[in-house]
């Protein structure tokens, strides 16, 4: 298991983790996991990422000039990496234990300070076989519109499943069913998941 972050806030609907790599939270929509005290692992979809000052109240100031910009700024100001952190948020969509996968909220939130890891393609494949959790994602209260989150997630899962076109068609039909009364949201998701060069 490759640990990518540590949980710094947690509740029944999701958690916030500090990323081990600065500026590189896991991709939006990717499936991540965190251990549960009672056994098994909570599964969440990454719904937000940000890089902010470590101490509240310290704002970032412009550091660049004509010669020094982008990554060179960090060479010129070696202390910067110690004053900022990258965080990501995940909404819980299910949990797994001993090979069984459940697409409901886990009984407890994952514990504070525990590790977060990205799910392996096998785990993604196993979890995304059923699509009941789309409902949870569409209802999630996240900083970005839930249809954008769902589209990002379907794109990631499609890639993790090795460009599984049959699954993508099934996912599209499920989205159409869930959003049949909300044309605008439906179009947003469908245009967000259309494979490149197709529609």
């Amino acid at each position: 298991m490759t640990r990518i972050g540590e949980i710094v806030a947690t509740h029944s609907l999701g958690f916030v983790a500090e990323s081990f790599t600065l500026h590189q939270p896991p991709a939006l929509g990717s499936l991540v996991k965190a251990p549960l005290v009672a056994g098994g692992e909570a599964l969440g979809v990454v719904c937000f990422g940000e890089t902010v000052g470590l101490q509240p109240g310290r704002r970032a100031l412009r550091r660049s000039d004509e010669a020094v910009y982008d990554s060179a700024i960090y060479q010129e100001h070696p202390e910067l990496v110690h004053t900022i952190r990258t965080e990501f948020h995940a909404v819980l969509v299910g949990w797994q234990e001993g090979g069984a996968v459940r697409q409901v909220l886990p009984p407890q939130p994952p514990p504070l300070h525990y590790s977060v890891a990205v799910c392996t393609p096998q785990e993604v494949r196993a979890f995304t076989e059923r699509l009941d959790y789309f409902r949870l994602l569409l209802a999630a209260e996240t900083p970005l519109p839930s249809e954008q989150l769902l589209a990002a997630h379907i794109r990631r899962a499609y890639a993790d499943r090795g460009r599984d076109d049959a699954w993508l068609r099934r996912a599209a039909r499920e989205v159409a069913r869930l959003l049949k009364e909300e044309y605008d949201r439906l179009v947003t998701v469908l245009s967000g998941i259309a494979p490149e060069g197709g529609n």
Binding site: Q55, R58, Y74, Q75, E76, H77, P78, E79, H82, T83
Partner: protein, 387 residues
């Protein structure tokens, strides 16, 4: 709203109108003119004359009054170490006497292998010999000036420790800790208590060849202006105690410069340039032995800053150039203020929440031993704010 802003307003207006007057502008102009015109050799002779008596502290010009030296190029690879301290307590209203010193530090390495260490050291002092200073005939509580001196000693010791482990060349910066002004008005015995270890640490810096300097933003010192006042004195022997102008004639050449801060003199410096060197003659320095302190003023980009350092730093052109170059480079990187000092300060700061946590930890430790700590009734009433 108990603070009556209306009545403060009138006084604020008066304060502002007094600061911004033609008379004050003329004072500054006269001081600048004296800086250009006066011969530093004459001022040196006068300050060296044992008959000279002044009511103010005047700096000794070691070179020219109005010179300017451009910043040398900073080395390709170098480090800057900085330390800053803050304290919590002692609190008279808390039932046990203790205080916490938190010394923050930053070591930033620039060049081909950039890196940074930002951290702090926290210690709680509670033993009798820590919270009281036992002198020959009496005992003094460690607070106020004594606590500040203790913090300065800790700060300099931590600074030496982290600077000596940093990749060379390294410049060590302190925030207000070189001339221990606070010790000037405490009993000699107390001075000795803190000056001993303080000077010992300065000696370690010297031994290791690590330049240490104190960076002062918006300096309020007047000692160069005071040197000009000595130069302007019309008497053959400068003796403020016998000054005939003191009584009535306020427009004497000397009095007409009083109150002008040195920083107003050095606005002719261009960005990165420093003034010539001066030696501080603060009374406490009589006890500094081989660590006499000098200073220069510097255009730090957004203001005229003052950099103080032991003379062994300033009189060696290599360490002088290194300090000058490193400080200018720091100010360029930090938008006018050295980032190493800023980060050391961030590490040192004790927030209100931190304070509360420490108090709770202490209360809990006593509670586990079945002792409830009673706050003073006054403090409790302030916290409850019942109506």
């Amino acid at each position: 709203m108990p603070l009556r802003l209306g009545s403060l307003g009138r006084e604020i207006e008066e304060m502002a109108s007094r600061e911004v007057t033609l008379e004050r502008r003329q004072r500054v102009e006269r001081a600048r003119e004296a800086l250009r015109r006066l011969d530093p050799r004459e001022v040196r002779t006068r300050l060296g004359d044992p008959r000279t008596v002044t009511t103010f502290v005047a700096a000794l010009p070691l070179g020219a009054f109005a010179a300017a030296f451009p910043a040398p190029e900073a080395p390709r690879d170098f480090s800057v170490a900085a330390a800053d301290g803050s304290s919590m307590g002692p609190d008279r209203h808390f039932p046990v006497r203790y205080y916490v010193l938190n010394t923050g530090y930053a070591v930033i390495t620039y060049g081909s292998r950039p890196g940074a260490i930002l951290d702090s050291r926290s210690r709680l002092y509670f033993r009798d010999e820590e919270v009281y200073l036992a002198l020959q005939h009496r005992t003094l509580p460690v607070e106020g000036a004594i606590l500040s001196a203790k913090m300065a000693v800790e700060e300099l010791a931590t600074l030496f420790e982290v600077a000596s482990q940093a990749p060379r060349p390294v410049v060590a910066l302190t925030d207000g800790v070189i001339i221990l002004w606070g010790l000037q008005n405490v009993p000699e015995e107390v001075q000795g208590e803190f000056l001993g270890p303080f000077l010992e640490t300065l000696g370690r810096f010297a031994q290791e060849g690590i330049p240490v300097a104190n960076y002062i933003s918006l300096p309020g010192a007047h000692d160069v202006v005071n040197a000009l006042r000595v130069g302007l004195c019309p008497e053959a022997v400068v003796n403020c105690a016998r000054c005939e102008f003191e009584a009535g004639r306020k427009d004497s050449a000397c009095a007409s410069l009083a109150g002008v801060p040195d920083r107003e003199l050095f606005i002719y410096l261009r960005e990165g340039e420093r003034s010539d060197l001066f030696q501080s003659r603060a009374p406490i320095l009589e006890k500094y032995k081989e660590h006499q302190v000098g200073f220069f003023y510097l255009n730090a980009g957004q203001e005229i800053a003052r950099v103080e350092a032991p003379l062994w730093v300033l009189e060696d052109p290599r360490t002088l150039d290194l300090v000058h170059a490193a400080v200018v480079d720091q100010c360029r990187r930090g938008r006018g203020y050295p980032p190493a000092l800023q980060e050391a300060h961030e590490q040192a700061a004790i927030t209100t929440a931190d304070r509360r946590v420490v108090e709770e930890m202490i209360e809990e430790a006593f509670a586990r031993r079945r002792v409830v700590l009673p706050w003073s009734a006054k403090e409790r009433s302030k916290r409850e704010r019942g109506i």
